[in-house]
Symmetry: D2
Subunit: 467 residues, 4 copies
């Protein structure tokens, strides 16, 4: 149950379609799972930029009268959950700036790791920051580059930053898509008729029946203009460090990213989970919705029948407010309910994708127990999370991660399951085709990118609050 | 795919809890699937009634400042989708009236069938109607009864009406729950500490960890007051005619109604579907979410593995507006996406709970075909719908029901599946314990309650429009 | 300063114009000063009624998409402040009902005085009430009349009620306007091209450049249909008892009602105020806006120059919320500010239209004193209010009316003025052409209509609270 | 009638009060007439800045839950109408930035005239702009100054800019107020207990019963911190060029600015108008509300009685939408109505403060004529506007100003008055104490500050559109 692993961002871009903003709206709609806090679209009509950003869900923000003025054949969009920067309108993306070469808008998925020292350096030399977002650092670097073309300036800027970034940039009549050299976050290229599309995940292409061409490569900068596509590989070669957690939890199961279908990987995780940590049981039940593919894999491999023992209430929304006073602590009951008819007197395998703090898991296990389960074997389709992510996933700090300070047996006792098993990293690696191309830092604490010294020092000091 | 079988209403009541309105809010929240159009709560504080009704979702309407003034230890609530009466604030329930015995508030799930002639008779004798709702008829009948007690008046009133009704009535210091003699709609009794609860479905009790006591019986009027519970059976005995469609589609799978767990019945439907209409295939995929339990049953019975070949976008909401101009006809793609990685070159069994107009099914089948499926065998876990429901389900008219005018083979061709099979009524009856206790009118056209002549004549004439 | 004499209602009607709802919108807009709490419009398109009612200001409620569905060539509208019934959506007018003759919508300005016993009688014979409004009583009486035509039924109903009512009724293809036999509230007839208009005040006609024909007479029922206008005088003759307070405070100064222009009457009040209560002073200042015409009259008669020593903030709105904590008691400063440059060392005559509780007057006088005024002579352009109004003005109870229990000298001391004078009733009567045609009950306690005994008893008992 | 001379901005600041944000809210509320488009408040709590900006009216934006998080004892606020930059959330003030010395927030009333070349220079050297506002230029200049203290940096920055600026700056624990060397816009210093206040107009002090100390001088930079007040005069001496239009139309009549009470000046304008352009007439009527003080002056000087012949509808709001279709061209009738009872057969002097395009004046004169006026003598309490304002008032371009291309006699014919007279500049100067201290550019075309050459060239080219 990954409620506490907050989703991050999704980006989308269109080049060369008369309804670029409408397509961006649809693309963002399909990426809504990557960020439910705010959404924005910038378009360029050949002369002017048009932009609309707002807190809220894509379908609630973009009504006809909002989309209509976003004219032009090029557009980019962004959905966001707060990974860096606080939660308010100032940090909504895309950002839009005027700089020496004209106008430029940018949408960013990922987290920089040297943004604090870079920001400090920029500020010391006279730059002003109007948000908390690390994306504003990239904008300054582009604006301050002395080079004559936008392509050169983007390259110049990105050479100064480290971290995770899948960027979509609307630079006047050019659309630029860049993926960091390690390729932490996904970024895909598509086509709809004669228009080109860029999106975090391929499910954005499916909704508009567009064709998926290929993924943008780690370290690739793709420039789309009236002359067509042009690829640059301006960075020193780095090993691929794609986020394994996109497969485990983040990405939509129908998307194709990092060379594989998410659903298939997730199902293999369930199969491996049985292979490595089998158990005798009557039924397998997933924690919905993210646990379902792994539970299918576990069930098929084990032969233990799958049942929907936990039902999810899909009308939860962001707005649910627990009533005050004596009625409290509904917590997970607002989202999930256990079905006693299925669970009563059963030996149950419960499949979830991860355990973060452990509190939600504990509530789920207790709820299943109260529904009459005789035995509860808790199986997690990923290894224990021991370290926070600095590349774009909003995990809590070390202290809050239960697996950082507790053994599996301690966690088992805490969540009150009869047995608990995680997938080992060894097993996890068997679920993907090229296991060396991934980042496992949240499971190992071994970060592929080292933090600059200043960053580490300041990590907890800096946070300007804003309402 | 039952998009066109609009959900109807849910009712909830609390007697004897200091936070009656808060509990009602939670209870309605768990019943949200029964109606997403409007919601309302009435409370009684011993002296005054307090009420709030509004268009929208439960969690969006009932904020702290709205709930706080709804004081008192007795409360009732209602969620609604337009089955009778048009969609506006005037028809929001609960209704609240002043009448000869004081104040009375009422929440109604179901549809009357003699409301038009009764309404006409009332109007002719000087009554005024301020809404289109058939519930207002019941209010007038209670108000006009000459009998001295509210219990007698409710009985007096209900003896004049025919149709489906599960009522929760807040009559000053009494809470009254009534289920029509045929028991079309569910109604359950629960307890939380010393407080009594009434709800359409038991999932309302689960969310607040309340105890499910029993179902209100068809024809039972249960009166709860400070002296406790008292049951009346004032009506002539009628055969039970519980709505089979609650099992097939409406009720939440974790609820226990009509003597059984919904999930279990739904899963048996899938098992029977395989038994009566087997096929050779590589995978079974459900149309989510309502098709999942049947697909699990089908998969387990057949041994054909279950896969999530269709992914549902849960951020759809009521607010999605298709962009104008050339981008059109997204239709089902807004809600569902097919996963080619699973479907490619596969022989696929698709499980859905019903076919209404056929248009949505056709889009789903085409989407699966486009994702690469080699064969598509469409299996429906209920019989063909040939007749509209007059007892509380918002089915379209005869003309719009594809199975009313087309053979199964014609439907198969229309939806473009390779084979199509429905569950027979004979098989359907095997899925429930007491098959004679159910209404199958939508599948048979044999209505358990005859319409009064006037009703039939006026059925299409009367509809006052209101914004 | 009449902040506490809350405004009541305004009504409007159109017969025979293709944009009846749009005209009603404009008419209500011009009547906004008569009620800022809610507004509503009903239209009839020859077959169906359409209605929209909402809390808020006319210009905020009626956007294009709200007006567009209100089709038809006949429409009525209502603006409301809470004179009877509590402040919520249930009491918003117009009301719309289905009854024996079809549909009927009604908008009411005024207050009945025998509504409580009539309501009790109706309820005892089986009627149900869904609001607190006395207007619902009229609807029941119309619905219960056994007479065959709507005209007869309206007459039948109105013969049973007593009190103040200017009604506009939309009865299918007829528009009916009625003014009670005493003519408490104004009601005017106008024409725009071939369409007929009915409005509380003539300023509604001016905004659409329509022609003012005449006032509806007290006791007149005017029926407008396709055959033209037809007048009925069905009631026993009663003396005219037009509300003098419409002239003093309520009506807009540019309106023509009760046979005179409001501004002219109000100016004469100021002239008479000087004649009867002269004083030596340097400047005359009005309490804006309602005190301005009287101040002009006072200034012209006395020769003492008029100055705007109090400035009104017109952005106050309904929404101003005083910040919590130590910053409190802004009260009147939110609306008014005194200008020291004008007031310093001056002997000042302050003109206001009335004193209700005295608290606001006290704040104003203190504010003027703080701004440096040497002497403050407070002159009120109406007599002391000693009794509440039961005919449509929301005055507080006897206890709260300062003049009910205090002498003028005591009030003078309380409000801290150097001298205080009211206009006498004798003088007030000189300001209007036919002084015997008016109701002065708030100044005399002599009510032209006696209350039925039950009414008096129940007056404080009955009030159902509703959110 | 100055509907087309859009109001500009108002600024407010508090130092040293525990409810700094609440006071700022009240201060902005009293300044609402200076800008109704957006409002914002920044506070500083000793560690963090808090900010809220929103489109809309002050009283609608700042509810308790919005104000509560704006903690701290220092706060600044801004109300805005679009004088520079387009109308959207990005341009809402105050602005807030992080720069080399920490955080800084700024609120600006006025318009720079060399912002375009300065912006170009900044952009060319790597700066990025995220709004259209000239205020962002000031922020960059402060951030880029190499000087060590904020005081020096502000001075450094302001020496590079030309134009009109009354600034309130929240720089951590210091509040800085600056008025440009010419003193175009007002800026006042006040005290509430031990707290210091800064405001565009003194009416902000009155609402909270604070004391007005003095005006900030042209060219003065006032720094308020825990040690008290400190004044700097860092700029070369310039002649005072205070905006005469603040007196004529903008400022609230109860405010004291530029050494005088606004009401008194406005009344003198009316007196002078009669002296220079007398006429024989029966009544004087103002165009409300801005024309009232001048009309009082005219009336007192001439002995012609003042009457309110035009009534203003104060519920207009921003939201009024003219109904579509045949009902059109209400225009000024939405705001004003003429009272025939006063005007009929009268010789009328109409007093307005200015004529901009002439279209509104024409409608008003026609409305008065239709109400029966025999003669209409139109008197304007300011000279003809022949040139746009570049210092903070949103006048239209030369082409749209009727007096730029037409003689007074031509204007008289266009607006259909019988005679038309403006106040001469010579007479206007007699209304104020130090006539040489004012800017009359809109009446003379002689601008006290010359535009840099680039500015003039680019004036019409640059405008980035944003929604």
């Amino acid at each position: 149950m990954t409620d506490y692993l907050k989703e991050e961002c999704g980006v989308f871009g269109v080049f060369g379609h008369p309804e670029a903003s409408n397509l961006t709206y649809l693309g963002l709609y399909a990426l809504q799972h990557r960020g439910q806090e705010s959404a924005g679209i910038t378009s360029f009509d050949g002369k002017c930029f048009h932009i609309h950003r707002q807190m809220g869900l894509v379908a609630d923000i973009f009504k006809h009268h909002i989309l209509e003025p976003l004219k032009g054949e090029i557009a980019i969009g962004h959905v966001r959950y707060s990974t860096a920067g606080s939660s308010n309108i100032k940090n909504c993306q895309p950002f839009l700036m005027e700089y020496a070469l004209g106008g430029l808008s940018i949408a960013h998925n990922g987290n920089l790791i040297n943004d604090v020292p870079t920001r400090k350096r920029l500020v010391d030399s006279g730059a002003i920051f109007q948000s908390n977002s690390d994306t504003e650092v990239i904008m300054h670097l582009i604006a301050r580059s002395p080079l004559p073309t936008i392509e050169d300036r983007v390259i110049d800027a990105l050479k100064e930053i480290k971290g995770a970034y899948s960027l979509v940039i609307l630079a006047g009549s050019k659309l630029i898509a860049v993926r960091d050299p390690n390729g932490f976050r996904p970024l895909c290229l598509g086509r709809l008729g004669r228009a080109y599309l860029v999106a975090s995940e391929t499910c954005s292409f499916d909704i508009m029946e567009a064709e998926f061409i290929r993924e943008i490569e780690p370290g690739e900068m793709l420039v789309i203009d009236n002359r067509g596509l042009k690829s640059y590989y301006p960075f020193d070669a780095e090993p691929k460090r794609q986020c394994i957690f996109e497969f485990i939890y983040f990405a939509r199961p129908d998307s194709f990213i990092f060379g594989e279908n998410v659903y298939n990987v997730r199902k293999r995780l369930g199969e491996l989970l049985y292979e490595y940590s089998p158990c005798v049981a009557d039924i397998v039940i997933p924690v919905p919705d993210s646990g379902i593919p792994s539970a299918i894999g576990f069930s098929q491999k084990s032969g233990i029948p799958l049942e929907l023992g936990l039902i999810r209430n899909h009308y939860v929304g962001r707005t649910f407010i627990e009533p005050k006073q004596s009625i409290r602590h509904f917590g997970v009951k607002i989202k999930l309910n256990a079905n006693p008819s299925i669970l009563k007197n059963k030996r149950v395998v419960v499949i979830d994708d991860s355990i973060v703090r452990g509190t939600t898991s504990r509530k789920i296990i207790k709820m299943i127990r109260n529904a009459g389960a005789r035995e509860i074997h808790f199986r997690i389709s990923s290894p224990p999370i021991i370290s926070p992510c600095y590349y774009g996933i909003d995990t809590p700090t070390h202290n809050e991660l239960i697996a950082n300070s507790h053994t599996i047996e301690e966690i088992n006792r805490y969540v009150t399951s009869d047995s608990l098993a995680y997938l080992s990293i060894e097993a996890l690696k068997k679920a993907v085709k090229n296991p060396d191309d991934f980042c496992y830092a949240c499971f190992t604490g071994k970060y592929p990118l080292k933090f600059p010294k200043e960053e580490i020092e300041q990590l907890k000091l800096f946070r300007r609050e804003e309402e």
